[in-house]
């Protein structure tokens, strides 16, 4: 018996998001988790598994967010707690694994950060990554920019492709009242005028830094039937981790881990890329969206520029991508930005941005989600479907 359709996302928790000064990272984890539990129609006492996404360096005046601290604040004493953290992208598989092994029945999976308003991200940027700092190399943008530059050398890509991603996702954010960029439109000119950060990336190739949190509750499809919402079934999952850092990596221009991860996920789900109605792609940078969709098989190397043209991923387009605005235009909550949006869409709770007649797109049955970490060093692909 395979894992297809055996487990489900049953609740989603939001918090105030974007610019929310004066809050600790822990408070966002706790609020998002409490909201996800209530959203599922569950009580705290039902939750017996907890997995927290990566904790970034603590802001000044805060201690580190640990899963036991989050549990304490939620009044939980779970029978399963994950204590792994470093840029994990495997949490949904982790959750399904512990549910399937019977170690717990309801897992809450959370992320929270005060990235915009605190000094936490600044602390992370200046954290040493080996001796790279001696050469002036810091943070994630430049690592992904190295990958993107190599891709520009290897196949036809660059700003002419990435502008469609930045602008297309912004159009979705303009339909999403909780998106950070809800009220700001973006044209191709705005994209080109946004200024270099680390060339070849402009400001609008970069994701947002967000205050806030996000959480989901996962349980068995069987238990899910008694809960509040139509459960979102986990149809397929795959993971592949090329692991090599950007210095030695041979996967920067693809295939990244996305290729094998998707093959595994599609194999489990018993479907192909042709059965996918929409995608929620981890979009730390515009290039990440391109290389992920390319490796998933939506188009061949360098064909993205034509594939994205004409509003393919936008409202009304033939393959909607990052329908909340994504991390580029909604908010950055690691892998939970894609997973939670896919779940909301499949539950039919997305208002003006709802896939279907409201946005002149097909009503979604199957949504493909990605998550990746390091500089394309880890990758998880998840296929969700409506029940």
């Amino acid at each position: 018996m395979g894992l297809r359709d055996k487990y489900a996302i049953v609740g989603i928790g939001y918090t105030p998001q974007g610019r929310v000064p004066g809050r600790t990272a822990l408070s966002f984890h706790v609020e998002a988790s409490a909201n996800a539990i209530a959203d599922a129609g569950l009580k705290a006492k039902d939750i017996d598994g907890i997995i927290c996404y990566r904790a970034f360096p603590s802001a000044s005046g805060e201690g580190p967010v640990t899963p036991y601290l989050a549990s304490q604040h939620l009044g939980l004493s779970p029978t399963y707690m994950s204590q792994d953290a470093n840029c994990s992208r495997s949490h949904i598989q982790h959750a399904v694994g512990v549910l399937d092994s019977g170690l717990c029945r309801y897992v809450v999976l959370s992320y929270g950060h005060n990235a915009f308003s605190s000094d936490s991200m600044r602390r992370m940027l200046l954290e040493r990554n080996g001796d790279d700092a001696a050469f002036g190399h810091f943070g994630a943008a430049a690592g992904y920019a190295l990958a993107a530059r190599r891709a520009m050398h290897t196949f036809r890509t660059g700003p002419e492709t990435w502008k469609h991603i930045a602008v297309g996702q912004r159009k979705w954010a303009n339909l999403n009242p909780v998106a950070t960029m809800h009220q700001r439109t973006m044209t191709f000119d705005d994209y080109y005028n946004s200024g270099w950060v680390v060339e070849p990336f402009r400001l609008f190739d970069n994701c947002l830094m967000s205050d806030g949190g996000r959480a989901v509750v996962i349980t068995s499809a069987e238990r899910a039937r008694d809960l509040k919402h139509h459960p979102v079934l986990i149809m397929g999952m795959g993971q592949h981790n090329p692991s090599c850092d950007v210095h030695q990596a041979l996967h920067l221009a693809g295939p990244t881990g996305a290729k094998k991860a998707a093959e595994t996920a599609f194999g489990m789900a018993g479907i192909t890329v042709d059965d996918v109605d929409a995608c929620q792609i981890y979009d730390c940078f515009t290039y990440t969206v391109e290389i992920t969709l390319q490796d998933y098989g939506f188009f061949g190397p360098g064909e993205g520029q034509d594939w994205f043209k004409g509003g393919t991923i936008e409202p009304g387009g033939r393959m909607p991508v990052n329908t909340s605005g994504g991390q580029l235009s909604e908010a950055y909550y690691m892998g939970l930005t894609p997973l939670s949006e896919a779940s909301m869409q499949l539950m039919g709770r997305c208002g003006d941005r709802q896939l279907g007649p409201a946005t002149k797109t097909p009503s979604p049955e199957v949504i493909l989600c990605s998550d990746n970490g390091g500089v394309l060093q880890t990758h998880t692909c998840t296929i969700l479907r409506r029940s």
Partner: protein, 137 residues
Amino acid sequence: MNEYPKPLPDINNDNKEFWSGCKAHELRFQKCRDCGHVRWPPSIICPACHSRETEWIVSSGKGTVYSFVIYHVAYHEGFKNDVPYVVADVELEEGPRLLTNIVDCPHENITCDMPAQVVWDDVTEDYSLPKFRPILP
């Protein structure tokens, strides 16, 4: 004497041979005595065959630019007078790739796969950084 305003390498037991090589203006890498794989970063075993038998070799210092980016933002105070500056990943003839800077070249002339040669930047009395300059045809 002004204090050097930028971060310096962290020397540890794994990389001290590399950085003392740099001080002597030599790029030293570990080579596996069993399978011949030349590795970077330094490690106790060969990632290709897990052999512990290792020798240090001196690189020719010649390679090609695998990829490069141009920083227009200084994330660290020490680099604010340097922007725009180039960070690159250079692949040495012997195989390893180094994260480094490209110097002495107009940015618009830099391309992936262009040949480059190490040049030494003696940033303090104790530290020399391997940077790269394009080899002109």
